[in-house]
Symmetry: C2
Subunit: 330 residues, 2 copies
Amino acid sequence: MFLVRICVIGSSGHYGYVLKALDKDCEIVAISPGFEGEDLTPLKKDLSKLGLSPKEYTDYGEMLDEEEPDIVVLNTIFSLNGKILKETLRRKIHTFVEKPIATTMEDLEEIREIYQQVKDDVFFAAMFGIRYKAHFLTAKKLLDDGVVGEVRLVNTQKSYKLGERPEFYKKRETFGGTIPWVGIHAIDWINWLIGKKFLKVYAVHSRKANRGHGELEATALCLFTLEDEIFASLTVDYLRPSGAPTHDDDKIKVVGTKGILEVRDGKVFVVDDQGFREVPLLKEGQIFRDFLRKVRNEGECMVTPEDSILATEVALKARLSADTGRIVEI
Amino acid sequence: MFLVRICVIGSSGHYGYVLKALDKDCEIVAISPGFEGEDLTPLKKDLSKLGLSPKEYTDYGEMLDEEEPDIVVLNTIFSLNGKILKETLRRKIHTFVEKPIATTMEDLEEIREIYQQVKDDVFFAAMFGIRYKAHFLTAKKLLDDGVVGEVRLVNTQKSYKLGERPEFYKKRETFGGTIPWVGIHAIDWINWLIGKKFLKVYAVHSRKANRGHGELEATALCLFTLEDEIFASLTVDYLRPSGAPTHDDDKIKVVGTKGILEVRDGKVFVVDDQGFREVPLLKEGQIFRDFLRKVRNEGECMVTPEDSILATEVALKARLSADTGRIVEI
């Protein structure tokens, strides 16, 4: 098998997915910041724990010119990921990119256009790694098997501990907003699990109680209308107390014509005409292993470029709704 | 103690609260339908189980003229409760009335005006009996004690089994809608537990999958903006499967600056900087006992006329939003 050569841009996101999935046929050949002055210390520390010390560039353009990697792992500050993605796609380099894949509609539209031109040669996927947790894979299987019948209503939750975030989280311009950064995961679940078209969104968000985090929104609610009069809610907060047993509290509830499925506390529950039961979990997956499989032409990746574009679009339109107080068509 | 004389109008709602709270100093002296042809069989059956056989009138006006009761229990078909409430208030009879207290804004505004004129002499309360369940009383105590700090976000859920409902549920004109009939409880919780002003609402609802129930909405979502940028969500469905262990699945989650409180499965949980814990429940209360206490001048009733008007107003405005697709100011 040919060696997959990987470059990492930035140290501000979920490069951890990549470090956990490296195999003997792939290698991180070089790293660089996404912009002058980005601190690469976290990434370099984690690499050195694995005994890795790839070449370090100060300029990602130079790195891409010199190294001609097969894959770029792109996770710099959030507002730059979309701008750099345009460049990696134009260069036809497969890109594993932090979500949201853009923080402005302009960048997203350009990405969509560029991708249309290069799609036969290049693959990319957003870091929707939560899909691969055992409880979400189990939910997906159950829903595909029709356990709830026809879906009518979906409730989702993202709740995170805030702690102390880096400076760039405190500015909308660099952070992008809590709906695109946190809420987008639940938007992706809805898209992936239900597979229905999003038609419109009404959303609200607030910066109050963000514990000194400037423009970061501590709370948000979104209400999505999908086709067939299916509705979906999303509640987001950064107020999970420090004493909570886990960093995050992900939840989804899917209400259908035959039953109700709930994912909470890492478990899956179904209630239907036969009663209430906890469902044994499928095995956990791993997003970057799936990504590698696709790049190596060994199979499909569950997160597609289309999914990555769609979830970003819906998140940015929810943010627009919350910013303007208007209902936004999708 | 003087004997409290009670008349019951209608057999289509929660008169059960009254039957469970009767004491030796009150008596159901007469019953009548709310309109010609209302079937009083359920009420009469339940009365006879208690060994009671009050006088039966065919016309409630005649009953009120003849009996001059201290209290009217008003629970006919939902669209008539508000119309009859206007009459009982004008007659200065204390009224324990089914929620919503009106199914049109016109009726509600008239009730508000009449109540302003008679408020020194008469009391009324909507049947928000769920407040008195042990888990909700416990949540109220914890929130009043400041366990979550400043409230920032509230998520509520009402999920019911549908079964086979009477004919009048199948017409908006007589039923009033699922948000005013079911969702209103959660609106009342938000008002009662959080005590902040509702500013606006965006809501959606759908009649799909209502299993032959005509115009009854099987699903709904509401997004409320309260003062101080506090947000509240409400999900409502009539799709709880017949095999579920309980008829209803009430939930509320209150996210604050110091902690998160959750009510689910009849239990109360708090997570804060000290960790996660289940909270022992307070003793259950009973709404009609509370109502009697107020009427007898022995204390206050936790559900006030103002609460009853407010929750109805918010529910009708949420229904208006869902009917029109517009954001509605409250």
